[in-house]
């Protein structure tokens, strides 16, 4: 179970803007620790965003995305109070899902 994310969603003129800050190490698997051993890869592979259960965004992440990734996207539709659910899966099978309500 991953660490919680921070999600903000606001609707303006019929377009909802969603801002997500995820908490993840995003290790590339190419770095070495102080003893010279490789730090095992650990990164988010998939992110999914749902609006009232309907998928509005799917993204595939890789090693090039930074630690604690920040993602902003907009989609048409959505009214205040609607539920936005964000979930991610990493290469180790760990997963996290958080939700928020759209604010006006």
């Amino acid at each position: 179970m991953g660490n919680p994310m921070k999600i903000r969603a606001a609707v303006k003129d019929g377009v909802t803007e969603v801002k997500i800050l995820m908490q993840h190490e995003m290790e590339t698997g190419l770095r070495k620790d102080a003893d010279g051993n490789l730090v095992p890869a650990c990164f988010i592979t998939e992110v999914k965003a749902q609006h009232n259960g309907r998928t509005v965004l799917e993204a595939q992440f890789g090693q090039s995305v930074s630690k604690n990734p920040y993602l902003v996207f907009r989609f048409k539709g959505g009214v205040a109070g609607d539920k936005i659910t964000i979930s991610w899966v990493d290469n180790k099978g760990d997963t996290r899902s958080d939700e928020t309500a759209i604010s006006a």
Partner: protein
């Protein structure tokens, strides 16, 4: 995922925060671009996570005495966190000295939780492997002063003295490079590489600098405390590393904080 869903996505902006390339535009200076970048990611400051973790640490019983820090007096009374940082450093009667936030937290961890001060001072800063508790706690406390005007007092003689000592250290040239803080921070409109250097003798610059620390350093992936920042200044000047929460660092913090008086505290900040 079907195509109609894809078409609904108006814009996707995935930031590999360490490598943001902003298209070169004629006439836009580097510092403007940095400002644009800050604006873009200002809602996504990972220091928020440290604030959350710090709040948990504040409320969780710990140490040999298995007590929480909720009774810690940061100067505004037992357990008052809101706005405390905007009035620090300050003189504390019980310890009979001027303390900055981190030295005060150290006192509280020692008296309330029974953790020896040497143990706390042994790991004062976060590393890639492990976050430092005191640094995380500080991030939480400063977050509770967001939007509150800086009002650090120099009324008490010891506060005044700390300010004067801080001022002297700021201007004191020494070390193999014959450097002082003022070598870099007492001239307006200069920079190191792409970084504009604030002139800390000018209120506007001093306020902007002080009120944005502690801050999340994108290049290090860590939230850094003000003690850490001062420590790094000493390192860059090739001075001996100051003792954590020493009189010298508290005095310099006092000098910086008083110069920032009147500005709204805006941290925890976000730095390159």
């Amino acid at each position: 995922m079907n195509t109609s869903n894809v078409s609904k996505v108006v814009m996707l902006l995935a930031l590999a925060t360490s490598y943001v390339a902003i298209a070169a535009e004629g006439g836009v200076s580097d510092s403007d671009r940095i400002a644009q970048y800050r604006e873009m990611i200002s809602d996504g400051n990972p220091a928020d996570f440290d604030e959350m973790a710090g709040e948990e640490l504040w409320k969780k019983p710990g140490g040999p005495k298995n007590a929480s820090l909720e009774k810690c007096d940061l100067g505004k009374g037992s357990g008052v966190v809101k706005g405390a940082y905007a009035e620090m450093p300050r003189y504390f009667k019980d310890t009979d000295r001027v303390q900055d936030l981190e030295s005060r937290l150290m006192t509280c961890m020692n008296t309330l939780q029974g953790i020896p001060e040497e143990e706390i001072a042994a790991k004062p800063f976060s590393t890639e492997q492990k976050n430092s508790d005191i640094s995380t706690l500080a991030t939480y406390v400063v977050g509770q002063s967001k939007g509150i005007k800086m009002a650090v007092s120099v009324k008490h003689p010891k506060e005044k003295e700390a300010y004067e000592i801080g001022k002297r250290i700021f201007n004191y040239r020494a070390g193999p490079y014959d450097f002082s803080c003022s070598t870099c921070h007492a001239t307006s409109g200069v920079r190191i590489r792409m970084q504009d250097l604030p002139n800390l003798n000018v209120a506007k610059d001093a306020q902007a600098a002080y009120t944005s620390w502690p801050a999340y350093r994108v290049s290090q992936g860590l939230t850094r405390s003000f003690e850490w920042r001062l420590n790094d200044c000493f390192r860059q000047q090739r001075f001996p590393e100051p003792k954590f929460a020493s009189e010298a660092t508290i005095a310099l913090t006092m000098y910086s904080a008083v110069n920032a008086n009147g500005a709204e505290y805006a941290g925890p900040g976000l730095k390159r």
